[in-house]
Amino acid sequence: MDQTLPDTHSLLEIEGLTVGFADARGVLLAADQIHLNIDKNQTLGLLGESGCGKSVTLRSILGIVPYPGEVIAGRILWEGRDLLTLPRRTMEQVRGKEISMIFQDPTSCLNPVFTIEDQITETLKIKLNMHARDAHQRAVELLDHVGIPSPAQRLGLYPHQLSGGMRQRIMIAIAIASQPKLLLADEPTTALDVTIQDQILNLLASLRKETGMAMILVSHDVGVVAQNCDAVAVMYAGRIMEYGKASSVMRSPRHPYTRGLLAAVPTLEQAGERQPLTSIPGQPPNLADLPPGCPFQPRCPFVREACTNIPVVLDRRFPEHGSACPFVD
């Protein structure tokens, strides 16, 4: 059964992606039957709590799932080619050139013993075969582009001489150096203060506007996803529970988990009233010991008997907004 949203001219199509982590006791499915679609210019948000499989899904696209994780099934179609079966050399031309990635913690992604210039020009020289002199010039432009003041002076600095926000700007500069068509952003602002988060998200938005670059944004922050994404997929225990236009999912969530998640977010509107939040009861799911049927069923306020015996499949009742819960609407 086709679970994807209506297909126009997709840049990237993920079909039935399943990622397993093997340990002594068996195989855990960190991502299970993931179907996603992303078009040119689009921003897709992957929203969910720790361990829901959002980062693993993102990493699968570039073939960098950490050991002992492995893609077990599925296809990842990038402009018609399946990235999972590409030869390594070809994949290296896609990775970091056509598709780039930025991570949560810029401190651990930058090499502490090389200057900013070394790290930016490396990409330019390797991926774009640029000459050293041109690469230097381009690096200055890139730093300027991501809003770093006096870029020529900053090139000689080492990562530890920069603040967290500046380091994330450097990461973005490296990622956009090759003018990728798709940027994968894994919690890019989680480690940053709120005003710096605001600056970085604004920077990403203006870069997308300029270049038409698509983006997949992984975040646990509902507000960040609501404010920056066109479409959103809500994940729980390795499954997509709800998938649709961001405005529609945020305004009228269909799946009980999404509803619970949105209700659990404290807001500024009720400041000082101390009204209890509507929390989701119970504990986060344990991938090694998932309940039968719907993985959310033990915590679901609308649970019924049939829930132990249903597949997690997005319905097709509303073409732009699917939910994996057949009962609640």
């Binding site: 926000g165 605001d198 939040l277 986060p284």
Partner: protein, 334 residues
């Protein structure tokens, strides 16, 4: 059960904390003064029983240093801290022990704040046994009662932290703090490491505890919405100073300091409205070189000439609501 602001249980009066800056004789001969980091630059606050004071600010604003000074894990360079009728900074070892029993801290990371080799039972009962609040025989009842209080089944008493999830661990840390029947709890980013659905559970638990046990609480967080959820009063910190303080609803709907306004604007809203420009340019200045005049001046879009010369005094903009700003723009939030 009302809050009595005239008889605060905790009073922090104008504390300063510096790191480094002590130059040796050789430094002085070479005329190379050691740089001095200003962590707290004159912090004053009060807390009443049954009241939650939210401290909010970005990294490096001094929230945690303030908390650590209050329980004397750090000794401020100047200023005074009074808890009840006791002087915290002048207290001898025995008095300090009592003060710390009455003021319990809960930390951000329940993975590192619990001893991995202790069972939940001993983590909760040990402080109470050491302080002589219960005898060995009574300890089991205490553990049972506290676990129920924080919403955990009694069966977890035999487990070690590794068997618990982050939310469950934070509940254990709360139970351990409550074991000493404190009158004040200092929660330093106590829900920041938790997932949203679990964070809501813990925030609700804090709400119940404050109501039922008449606790005073200093609640530190960098996330405005979390502060908004629990706090009666809020103090916004920036670079070692409080820049605005007052009743939470008042400060969050009618902020008068440009920094508070920027924080509120930068906070991502669920409505998903896209914004045109970032709320605030630049980054927090180095605490080694605090700007002259108002410390927010270089990032402030309202800054006038005198903001670069004179440190702004507090202005009471509405009852109990103070802002340290020369301009006091009206930043009413819709």
């Amino acid at each position: 059960m009302a809050i009595d602001p005239d008889h605060p249980v905790l009073k922090v009066d104008n504390i300063y904390k510096y790191y480094g800056g002590k130059s040796t004789l050789i430094d002085r001969i070479q005329r190379k003064p050691k740089p001095r980091l200003v962590a707290l630059d004159g912090i004053s606050l009060t807390l009443s029983r049954n009241e939650v004071l939210g401290l909010v600010g970005e990294s490096g604003s001094g929230k945690t240093t303030t908390a650590r000074c209050i329980v004397r894990l750090e000794v401020p360079d100047r200023g005074s801290i009074t808890f009840g009728d006791r002087d915290v900074l002048a207290a001898d070892t025995e008095t300090l022990r009592h003060i710390r029993r009455d003021m319990q801290m809960i930390y951000q990371d329940p993975y590192s704040s619990l001893n991995p080799r202790m069972t939940v039972r001993s983590a909760i009962s040990e402080p109470a046994l050491i302080h002589g609040l219960v005898e060995k025989e009574g300890a089991e009842d205490l553990v049972r009662e506290l676990l129920e209080r924080v919403g955990l089944p009694y069966t977890v008493a035999n487990l070690r932290p590794r068997a618990l999830s982050g939310g469950q661990r934070q509940r254990v840390a709360i139970a351990r703090a409550l074991a000493l029947k404190p009158s004040v709890i200092i929660a330093d980013e106590a829900v920041s490491a938790l997932d949203v659905s679990i964070q809501a559970q813990i925030l609700n638990l804090f709400g119940e505890l404050i109501r039922d046990l008449r606790l005073g609480m200093i609640f530190i967080a960098h996330q405005l919405s979390v502060i908004a959820q629990l706090s009666d009063r809020v103090a916004i910190m920036y670079l070692g100073r409080i820049v605005e303080s007052g009743p939470t609803a008042d400060v969050f709907t009618r902020p008068r300091h440009p920094y508070t306004g920027a924080l509120l604007e930068a906070h991502p809203h669920l409505s998903g409205e896209k914004k045109q420009a970032p709320a605030l340019k630049g980054e927090i200045p180095s605490p080694y070189a605090i700007p002259k005049g108002c410390r927010f001046n270089i990032r402030c879009r309202f800054a006038e000439e005198k903001c670069f010369e004179i440190d702004p005094p507090p202005t009471e903009v509405s009852p109990g609501h103070y802002a340290w700003c020369h301009v006091l723009p009206d930043l009413h939030q819709s």
